[in-house]
């Protein structure tokens, strides 16, 4: 029987409040370090939440024209940096002109991000002609010299998992030789902090930023926004085997469903969130008893975390106590459209370093969220199968299964 080659992650580019690149971010995750600090670059005095996981965007990498790079919007700069790092990390940069390199990028609110930045800096782009502006994916293709198909996908906070799932299909269908996939978001802005704050979704623990995000904790009071993202280089395994390159993990399966319930609130029964996890496991041919680690979506909101815990009980049944569970949003903040991507990175961290990043600030686990928590300190444990859940406004449910490769 001819089996399709599996799809491997062979390169990672990432930016987060914990640092730049896979190694630095992994180190922060495993150390239980918080990236949450008071917002520094705009006035938040009147905001209900005044803390976030902001990033310092890196200067122009030597591979790029510094003048062109410095002119980019912050979101574009984040995207270009992550894509470049992923290609460099995979060892494909030098050969990129010979390959069909696709790009599937999760971007939850690209134009809103640009309008926001422009308005804060005195511009009025939002009311003027749009000529002269181009989509971020085109900018990436131009600056990195990519010649495959490209797409941006928006599924709110589930955008990154959708992007990785679609990229996996592009490779399986032989549409591309390599696919860059992931998501970036620069959502720490006055307007988004105001909108989420007014929704009462953000923590008000402004006086203790590093203790503010408390997924699954009985004293949680909301999420804290973060910035950054992660982009992965995906390839068919048969293109990687036989040379000296390595794979971080196999993208084993993806599940994507919709609640069709409400544009903000999740379905309290979590029927279709559970279906997304089951689809991903089925797609990956993984039994619930084989899951080692679940990176939960858990943002730290009272309703959402309990809802996800109930859903995991429903999916895992008698095996619910087996997989270790953590929410790395406790350290990075909620990266919104890029959350799934940075959490896929956390799964790669667990697989590569045989240690599971913790949920920090989990001092008093909520009895409504009984799971096998990795609380406050990383747990040394081999991880063969990791599941990353991401859900979003609009009822988007996604789950990704990542498997260790030999």
């Amino acid at each position: 029987m001819n089996e399709s080659p599996s799809i491997w992650i062979t390169g990672v580019g990432a930016v987060s409040a914990l640092g730049l690149g896979f190694d630095e971010i992994s180190k922060g995750l495993l150390a239980g370090k918080s990236g949450i600090r008071p917002v520094a670059d705009f006035d938040v005095a009147q905001h209900p939440c005044r803390i976030a996981g902001q990033v310092t965007l890196p200067p122009a990498p030597p591979e790029l024209n510094p003048t062109a790079y410095e002119k980019l919007w912050p979101l574009e700069r984040c995207i270009v940096f992550c894509c470049l790092q992923a290609l460099l990390d995979s060892g494909l940069w030098a050969n990129r002109g010979q390959l069909r390199i696709g790009l599937v990028l999760g971007v939850a609110a690209e134009w809103m991000s640009h309008w926001d930045w422009d308005a804060r800096h005195g511009g009025r782009m939002i009311g003027g002609p749009t000529t002269g502006y181009q989509p971020a994916i085109t900018t990436v293709q131009e600056m990195l010299g990519l010649n495959g198909p490209a797409m941006s996908v928006a599924a709110a906070c589930a955008s990154g998992n959708q992007a990785i799932g679609l990229a996996r299909e592009w490779l399986a269908m032989d549409w591309v030789d390599v696919c860059l996939a992931g998501a970036c978001d620069m959502g720490v802005t006055p307007y988004s902090m105001a909108s989420f704050g007014n929704l009462r979704a953000l923590s008000r623990r402004n006086d203790e930023p590093t203790a503010a995000v408390r997924p699954f904790d009985a004293d949680r009071d909301g999420m804290v926004l973060g910035e950054g993202g992660a982009v992965f280089a995906l390839e068919r395994s048969n293109a990687v085997r036989g040379d000296d390159r390595h794979g971080y993990a196999e993208v084993g399966g993806a599940g994507m469903t919709s609640d069709s319930y409400h544009l903000v609130s999740p379905d309290p029964n979590s029927t279709y969130a559970a279906a997304a996890v089951r689809h991903a496991l089925h797609d990956a041919q993984v039994d619930v008893a084989d899951i080692d680690y679940i990176n939960a979506h858990a943002t730290g909101t009272p309703v959402g975390d309990a809802c996800e815990a109930r859903m995991l009980h429903a999916v895992l049944g008698p095996h619910v106590a087996r997989p270790a569970v953590s929410s790395t949003k406790s350290m990075t903040g909620h990266l919104l459209g890029a959350a799934a991507a940075i959490e896929a990175l956390a799964c790669l961290t667990a697989i590569k370093f045989r240690a599971i990043p913790p949920t920090i600030n989990l001092d008093r686990p909520d009895t409504a969220c009984r799971l096998n928590h990795v609380a406050n300190v990383a747990r040394e444990q081999a991880v063969r199968v990791a599941v990353s859940n991401s859900f979003g406004f609009g009822g988007h449910n996604t789950s990704l299964v990542l498997k260790a490769v030999a």
Binding site: Q46, H47, Q98, L99, R100, G102, V107, A108, E110, W111, M112, W115, D116, A119, I126, G127, T130, Q134, P135, T138, Q141, E142, G145, N147, G148, P149, A150, M151, S152, V153, A154, A155, A156, Q162, E169, M173, D174, W175, V176, P190, Y191, M193, A194, S195, F196, N198, L199, M256, S258, S260, H262, L263, Y272, D283, G392, F393, G394, G395, H396, T398
Partner: protein
């Protein structure tokens, strides 16, 4: 009609059947009427309280979707679209609402910012709202978000149909057509919101025959070095689908990347004034980031 020339079908080629196409061109008063009363088909699931916050492109997409469903064979099953997904391409969705946010923030500070802006005007909002209308539980997402990015919806729908986890996909296109400078009191002097809704299924599934066919979509990967002749942009996909720009030529090509996509509507399609083919031809790096068309006759 001259058939568009495509590379030979090979690995990675995919064909989708277009089962229905609905399209609308709505003026501002017509959009206001939908906001106030919803549309009959969806009035139970999309109530005015919800639509009050929707972007105009969402309202137009709802009308196009209702029109497309009218063309499909009647079916009594309540869960008719339960296993379908929705992918939407909008053009600067939320621009008006966000301009209001910016202005109100200046005056009222953070407390002036509506909690409705993000859920209703982010790029996923059209697909999510239509998913709610249909009670669909397949994946919903936005793709692209600016003029020229519409063909990404085709790639997304084809990718999601591949594993047959969904029965079908709705592809939604929306945007505004603004009056030309100097336009006077004619029909073209008003801004019009355009929307098109296409129901597509994988041609190789039995379901494709049940639903009928008004057209096809062919997708074909090319080699990395494939090239195409690009010409002056003359048409775009949303104008073509909404019948605003279905003049000649009958075949067109766009340069975007190393993929080839052909959209063909049969002569008997509801919006067609004759068979027509739309061919976004992905080949090579496109420095403009916009589709470049080369018309053929």
């Amino acid at each position: 009609m001259q058939q568009a020339v495509l590379p030979g079908r090979g690995a990675g080629a995919q064909e989708l059947t277009i089962a229905a196409l609905g399209s609308v061109n709505l003026t501002v008063p017509e959009l206001a009427a939908i906001r106030q009363q919803s549309v009959p088909r969806f009035c139970e699931r999309l109530k005015p309280q919800l639509l009050k916050h929707s972007d105009e492109q969402t309202l137009a997409a709802i009308a196009a979707l209702a029109q497309a469903i009218e063309q499909m064979p009647p079916c009594q099953a309540a869960d008719r679209f339960a296993n379908w997904g929705v992918v939407s391409a909008t053009r600067y969705l939320g621009r008006t609402a966000f301009a209001t946010v910016i202005d109100r923030y200046k005056v009222d500070g953070p407390w002036g910012v509506s909690v409705q802006v993000i859920p209703h005007t982010s790029p996923h909002a059209v697909a999510s709202t239509l998913g709610m209308a249909l009670d669909s539980h397949g994946p919903c997402a936005g793709a692209g978000g600016a003029p020229g990015e519409e063909t990404q919806v085709v790639l997304a729908a084809a990718s999601l149909l591949r594993r047959r986890a969904v029965s079908g996909m709705w592809m939604i296109f929306s945007g505004w057509r603004y009056p030309a400078q100097g336009a006077t009191q004619t029909a073209d002097a008003e801004p019009v919101c355009l929307a098109a809704a296409l129901a597509v299924v994988d041609t190789s599934t039995p379901r494709a025959d049940d639903l009928g066919t008004i057209g096809r979509i062919h997708i074909q990967p090319c080699s990395a070095r494939a090239t195409t002749t690009a010409g002056k942009p003359t048409h775009d996909l949303i104008h073509w689908l909404t019948g605003r720009d279905r003049r000649s030529p009958t075949a067109q090509r766009i340069a975007l990347g190393s993929m080839s996509v052909e959209i063909e509507l049969h002569a008997n399609s509801p919006n067609g004034n004759g068979a027509a083919v739309f061919v976004p031809q992905f080949a090579g790096n496109n420095p403009l980031g916009q589709p470049a068309f080369a018309a053929t006759r």
